[in-house]
Symmetry: C2
Subunit: 370 residues, 2 copies
C-alpha cells in the first residue's frame, strides 16, 4: 500500500506521461467552456438546443436515425439491453465474461432489470462467430465490446464482425455495440464510425475515453428505440435538469480529437514496440489494434513498484500511476495513448526505455544469483 501510494505520487509529479490526455482537472472543463457564449441556455430535462444539436451530430456521425445523451455508459447500456429484451420478451443476453456490465456495474443489469447474461468465449480472447452459433439458449441481444478493454483492447477482424452481424440478423438476435472506444478502433479497421455502426442495431459510445471529455455517453439507434431509452433514462434518474457541462465539453473534445485517432494508433504501436524490446516485458496485444494496450511484466507487483518509482523519478516520465497484480510473479498496467505521448522528446523516451530494460535485467541477474 505504501509503495502503491508512492507510485501514484511519483507519477503525479512527472512532466511527461506515456498515456492519456493529461490530468483530469478543472482546467479541462474551463478550457472547453472558455470561448462559449455566457448566455447559452441550459438543456432542460433532456430537451433544449445544446442537447439536441449534439445528439443530432452524433446520430449523423454514427449513421443512425437518432441519438440520446446519457450521463454514463453504465446507464445507456443497461437500458439498451432492457429495450431489446422487452421487445423480444426474453430476459437473456450474451456478452464476454469481462464485459463492463459483468464486472464493473455491481450487477445493475441483474439487480435492476432482472436480465440474465450468458457469458460467451474464454476470458482471454474475443467472441468469435462460432461462439455465437454455439449458443444453446435463445437470447434477445448480443453485446460486442470493441475493443475488448480488459484484455488489452483486442479486436475481431472486420470480416468476423460482418459474419456475426449477418448471423444475428438472420436469427433475430439484436446486436449491440459497446463502443466505449469506438473512435479509437477506426484507424485499424480503416472504416468510418458509420461503417462499423451499421453492423449493429444499437450503438453506445463514450465521450470521455479517447475523446477525453468530462463524462457522458451517447446511445444511438432509430427514433422508436431512442424514445424508449429516454423513458428509461428518466426512470434511472439520468434525465437531469442540466447535462450541458458534459455535452459542451464532449462536443469541444470531439472536435479537437476525433481526427487524431490515427496518430494515437501509430503512437501506440511505436510505444508497444519499445516495451516489447525490454527484458521481462510484453504487451497485449503484441501489436496494438487501437490506441490502447496492456503492459505485462514478469515481476510481482511488490518487486516492480520500487523499480518503476525509481524509473519515473529518474526520467521524469510517468509510465503508470498504478500496477495490477496478475499473480504472485506477474503484474500489468494499461496504457491508452492520448495527447501526452507526443509531448515527450524522442531521445528522452529512448533513454527511459534503455533504463527500464537495464533495471529489469539487473533485477533478474540479482534474483537469479540469490
Amino acid at each position: 500500500m505504501n509503495e502503491c501510494m508512492s507510485l501514484l505520487k511519483a507519477f503525479k509529479q512527472t512532466e511527461y506521461r506515456l498515456g492519456g490526455h493529461g490530468p483530469r482537472d478543472l482546467q479541462m472543463l474551463k478550457r472547453a467552456l472558455m470561448d462559449l457564449d455566457d448566455q447559452l441556455e441550459s438543456d432542460m430535462y433532456g430537451k433544449g438546443q445544446v442537447m439536441e444539436d449534439f445528439e443530432t451530430k452524433m446520430a449523423h456521425y454514427l449513421g443512425k436515425e437518432a441519438a440520446v445523451f446519457f450521463p454514463s455508459g453504465t446507464m445507456a447500456q443497461q437500458i439498451a439491453l432492457r429495450i431489446w429484451c422487452d421487445q423480444k420478451g426474453i430476459k437473456k443476453v450474451a456478452y464476454h465474461p469481462l464485459c463492463h456490465l459483468e464486472i464493473h456495474e455491481e450487477d445493475g443489469l441483474k439487480e435492476l432489470h432482472h436480465i440474465h447474461p450468458i457469458l460467451l468465449a474464454e476470458e482471454d480472447r474475443v467472441i468469435q462467430l462460432e461462439d455465437v452459433m454455439g449458443l444453446k439458449e435463445e437470447i434477445a441481444c448480443l453485446l460486442l465490446e470493441l475493443p475488448q478493454r480488459e484484455i488489452g483492447g483486442q479486436l475481431q477482424e472486420y470480416q468476423t464482425l460482418k459474419a456475426i452481424s449477418a448471423y444475428c440478423r438472420e436469427k433475430g438476435i439484436k446486436l449491440h455495440l459497446d463502443g466505449a472506444r469506438l473512435f479509437e478502433i477506426l484507424p485499424y479497421y480503416q472504416k468510418s464510425a458509420k461503417e462499423i455502426a451499421e453492423l449493429f442495431d444499437s450503438v453506445y459510445v463514450s465521450v470521455y475515453k479517447g475523446l477525453g471529455g468530462i463524462a457522458g455517453a451517447i446511445l444511438a439507434e432509430d427514433k422508436e428505440f431512442t424514445k424508449k431509452s429516454k423513458v428509461w433514462k428518466r426512470r434511472h434518474g439520468g434525465d437531469l435538469i442540466s447535462l450541458y457541462p458534459y455535452i459542451l465539453s464532449a462536443d469541444y473534445y470531439f472536435e479537437k480529437r476525433v481526427g487524431k485517432m490515427q496518430q494515437y494508433f501509430g503512437e501506440a504501436k511505436e510505444l508497444a514496440g519499445f516495451f516489447n524490446q525490454c527484458h521481462s516485458v510484453y504487451t497485449t496485444p503484441l501489436e496494438p489494434v487501437s490506441n490502447m494496450f496492456h503492459v505485462h511484466l514478469d515481476l510481482s507487483k511488490e518487486e516492480l513498484e520500487p523499480i518503476l518509482v525509481e524509473l519515473i523519478q529518474e526520467t521524469g516520465i510517468g509510465f503508470s500511476s498504478y500496477l495490477k497484480e496478475l499473480n504472485s510473479r506477474a503484474c500489468y498496467f494499461e496504457l491508452g495513448i492520448g495527447d501526452m505521448f507526443a509531448k515527450i522528446p524522442k531521445d528522452k523516451l529512448k533513454n527511459a526505455f534503455a533504463l527500464l530494460d537495464k533495471k529489469l535485467k539487473e533485477f533478474n541477474t540479482k534474483n537469479s544469483v540469490e
Copy 2:
C-alpha cells in the same frame, strides 16, 4: 400552442422577473468555477477530495453521519426507499399522491425496484398523523415531502412532523425526507436543517432548487446506509467518472444562498399579498410557508395568455413563462422566490400589480356584458 410560445418568448425578453435566480445559462456554471484553481483534481467514480469534502460538509449541515452526492434526486430517492424496503423485507412504502416518484419519474420505483407505493391523503392536502395511523398495510418506509410542491408548497406544522416521526419510530417504519426544498422551509419552522433532519431517518436535499446549482442531490443517513446507496448509485449508472461540475457549483451556490432563505420567505409572503389583492386571483398557500407558492387565476389558459403577454411586455416584468390548465375556467403557475425578486424596483412592482388587477377587471366586465 402559439400563445404559449409567445408567453415564453415575452418572458425571456424581460429585464425583471418575479421568481427564480435568473436564466439557467452557461454563465451560472462559469461564475461558480471562475475563482477556483485550474489544477483542482476531478473526483473519480465517487472518490476524491472535491466530492468527499462536499459530502462531509452536507452531512454536518444535516446532522447525519454521512452523505452521498447523486446526479439526481430521482436516483437518490428511489435508492433510499429500496434500501429501507430491502432492510425490512417488505416492498411497500407510503407517500402523497402527488409525490415526485409517483408523477414525474415514469414509474422508476415500480419498474426498476418493484416497490409498491400506498398513496396517503387527498391530493389537495398534506399527510397528517391520522393518515399514517390509518395505514392498513405494513410498510417499510414513509416519505414526506416538505414542502408539498405540487400543491403550492404546503407544510405540516412542526408538532405534526414530530408526532409522525415518533409514531414511525414506535412502529418500526423508516421515515424518509424528500427535502428537495429543505433549505427553503427552515425560516417558517424557525429550525435548523439538523433539527428537521433528526426527525427523519434518511434525508434527500436538492442542490439546484432554492440554492440554484446546476444539478445534483445529496442523500444523507448513517455510514451503513450511505455505503449501500453507493452500490445502488453504481447500478443506476450514477457513479460517474466526474461529477465535479455539479459539486463545485453546488458548493458555490450553497455558500452564496443558504443564508438568504429568510429573505426569500419574506419576499414570497409580500408577493403573494400582491397577487391576493388582484381580481380573480388567489395563491396557494394563501400565505406562503416557504419561498414558493402557486398563483391560481379564474380564467382559462387561453383567456389569460394574451393578458399576461401584454402585461409582461408593458411592464418588463416576467410574471411567468408558462400557464398550466386546471380546468376549462381556471389555470395556475408556480413561483419560487430567488435572487431576481429583490432586483425589481418597488414602484415598478406596484404599478405592475395595479395593471394586472385592471386588466383582469376589464376582462371580467367585458365577459359579463357579452
